[in-house]
């Protein structure tokens, strides 16, 4: 059995492999993400300075322009910006990925049940979803952070997850609604499949491709949201750094020392772009109409 599964897996892998090679978006996106992933993972080794230590001769190191010693300059407290961006990558990427991993099973389950059972179950689940969606995300985030007392890594995760699941639920419900009418679903019912089998063997696997695509876009959106929260001071708190909090610190000097914003901003932009390239690429190869 396991041998058989391995063979099936290999075959499937080969089929994807063929398309993987020629898809530039996926290649470039993966490359970018690999680069930032590596940075996040190895930041203690790669950082030229301690990102938290404030030098003793503060005057001499405060707000230095990019140069040979400090490639990307220093902040007000004389800390090396490059090191801080490298460390910030950890928090930003972690928030993006963790939120998405936490939210996907919840959203998928709600979407599957709403779409498959329809009727009252659908109405109740979707009205709750609508209610959460209709609420301005930022206001909700501020309110939630206030309730959670101290902003920090955990509160950022909770706040983003509280809003993000709705998108996944809506997407999956839509997929299920159209899939439910598919002939192979009727055929499975006609051959005596149980409800659970229909949902988890027939509906879920056929939704996986769009879910995966949505997850990559979701991580990008979470990174942006984290930056937004960080900018408002609702993100991770000092001394922990994230790209969002770096942006917030740099914003004060935007007109005089713009690199304090530009470099963290670039990091965010590149990562988000990487996820979008990957997501677009995945959507292409999963789209049966584009299969040759």
């Amino acid at each position: 059995m396991s041998e058989r599964q391995r063979q099936n897996g290999r075959r499937y892998g080969r089929r994807l492999g063929g398309r993987w090679k020629w898809h530039r978006g996926i290649l470039l996106g993966s490359l970018i993400l690999f680069f930032f992933g590596l940075i996040a993972l190895l930041s203690p080794l790669l950082s030229p300075y301690d990102p938290y230590r404030i030098p003793e001769k503060l005057q001499a190191f405060s707000l230095l322009s990019p140069g040979a010693d400090h490639w990307l300059g220093t902040d007000l407290l004389g800390r090396d910006l490059l090191s801080r961006i490298l460390y910030g990558a950890r928090i930003s990427l972690l928030v993006g990925v963790v939120v998405e991993l936490a939210v996907t099973p919840v959203g998928v389950t709600i979407g599957l049940f709403a779409g498959y059972f329809g009727g009252k179950i659908d109405a109740v689940l979707m009205r709750i979803t609508d209610a959460v969606m209709a609420f301005p995300g930022l206001v909700l985030a501020i309110a939630l952070t206030a309730v959670l007392e101290r902003p920090g890594f955990l509160s950022v995760i909770i706040v983003l997850a509280a809003v993000r699941w709705t998108t996944v639920a809506r997407l999956v419900r839509g997929q299920v609604l159209s899939l439910r009418e598919a002939e192979h679903i009727t055929a499975a019912v006609a051959l005596g499949a149980r409800k659970g089998r229909i949902i988890f063997r027939h509906l879920l696997p056929n939704c996986l491709a769009p879910i995966l695509v949505a997850m990559t876009f979701g991580v990008a959106s979470n990174i942006l949201s984290e930056a937004g929260l960080g900018f408002l001071g609702l993100g991770v708190q000092p001394p922990t750094v994230s790209w969002g909090s770096l942006l917030a610190e740099g914003a004060v000097y935007l007109t005089v020392k713009p690199w304090l914003c530009i470099f963290p901003g670039l990091a965010i932009t590149c990562t988000v772009l990487g996820f979008h390239l990957l997501g677009d690429g995945l959507r292409d190869i999963f789209d049966p109409r584009l299969r040759s």
Binding site: R4, E183, H184, T186, A190, L191, G192, A193
Partner: protein
């Protein structure tokens, strides 16, 4: 109706409740299938053939559809009163169904072997290994070449005819006593059609099962069915043994259908095909009397006020027409 029958449907009414009104897709259909026989169900699109078939297995999507009247008994059990779990056990084991579109009736993300094996495991507690071996056996039975290799392939790697064979293998894996085949060959090209029909009839003989064959193709009916039901606007308008129906159709609608078939007869070449005038009536606005009257060339005054009953004109030959 008849005591020796395997499946008896009496006065079946399946209606769809839409925003425009109630669509009476099936309105008072009565039929029976005897063990081992082939019953043909013919009619134009929208005449209620498929809805009748789906109703038997309680596969009508609710909402909007609902079976509002009649009884369906299979092997002495009233299918309409069974709890959901009991009807599930019947689906695929005692009564199986195959569909028109072999392209879409298989799950695209699993291999055909996994799907055939899964069908077996819906009903029997067997190991994966055993189900897999039986899947290979099933593919061999529907004459798929090299089943050991094919069983690992995905539906998109197979041709239409091959996929329909897989569907048949899935449907017959547990030796059902009745197979409902809903336009099983319509989506296939003609040479493949003949192969699939031949395969079905061979397996029917071998497994001693009854087949309810739904089609709009009278040619298919002539070759395969024992008895025929002609449906129009959700009703049975004629029922007869296949030979009687073709030799001596009683209902003007059946006559029209037969007239519209091309024929190869010596010395009579070049005959234009006759079409039935008009369109299939809107099921929301059916005429009061005979539903076929507006398109019938023989309609007389009495056809309009009341709908005729299905009467036995000759032994075993029924028609719903006052002129018959």
């Amino acid at each position: 109706m008849r005591n020796d029958s395997l499946l008896t449907v009496e006065g079946l009414q399946t209606h769809f409740f839409t925003e425009e009104g109630v669509v009476r897709a099936v309105d008072g259909v009565t039929l029976s299938v005897r063990p081992g026989e082939t019953l043909g169900l013919v009619g134009e699109s929208g005449c209620g053939k498929t809805v009748t078939a789906l109703s038997i297995l309680r596969l009508i999507p609710d909402p909007p559809g609902r079976i509002v009247g009649g009884t369906i008994s299979f092997d002495g059990r009233d299918l309409l009163r069974l709890p959901e779990e009991e009807i599930r056990k019947i689906r695929g084991s005692s009564i199986s169904m195959i569909f028109q579109e072999p392209m879409t009736s298989l799950n695209p993300v699993f291999t055909v072997g996994e799907q055939v094996a899964e069908g077996i495991r819906h009903h029997q507690k067997v190991s994966r290994r055993e189900a897999w071996d039986r899947a290979i056996e099933g593919l061999r039975r529907v004459k798929i070449a090299d089943p050991v290799r094919r069983v690992r392939e995905y539906p998109h790697q197979l041709s239409g005819g091959m996929r329909q064979r897989v569907m048949i293998a899935m449907a017959l894996a547990l030796g059902p006593r009745l197979l409902i085949a809903d336009e099983p060959t319509t989506a296939l090209d003609v040479t493949i059609q003949a192969q699939i029909l031949e395969l079905l009839l061979g397996l029917q003989e071998e497994m001693k099962m009854a087949v309810m064959l739904i089609t709009h193709d009278l040619g298919v009916i002539a070759e395969t069915a024992d008895r025929v039901l002609v449906m129009y606007a959700g009703r049975v308008v004629e029922e007869a043994v296949v030979k009687d129906l073709f030799d001596n159709p009683l209902h003007p609608y059946t006559q029209g259908l037969l007239e519209s078939l091309p024929r190869l007869e010596a010395g009579k070449g070049g005959r234009r095909l006759t079409a039935i005038p008009g369109l299939v009536p809107n099921l929301l606005e059916l005429p009061v009397g005979c539903k076929f009257a507006p398109r019938c060339s023989k309609a007389v005054g009495e056809c309009w006020p009341t709908e005729p009953e299905l009467r036995e004109i000759r032994p075993g030959h029924w028609a719903r027409c006052i002129l018959a």
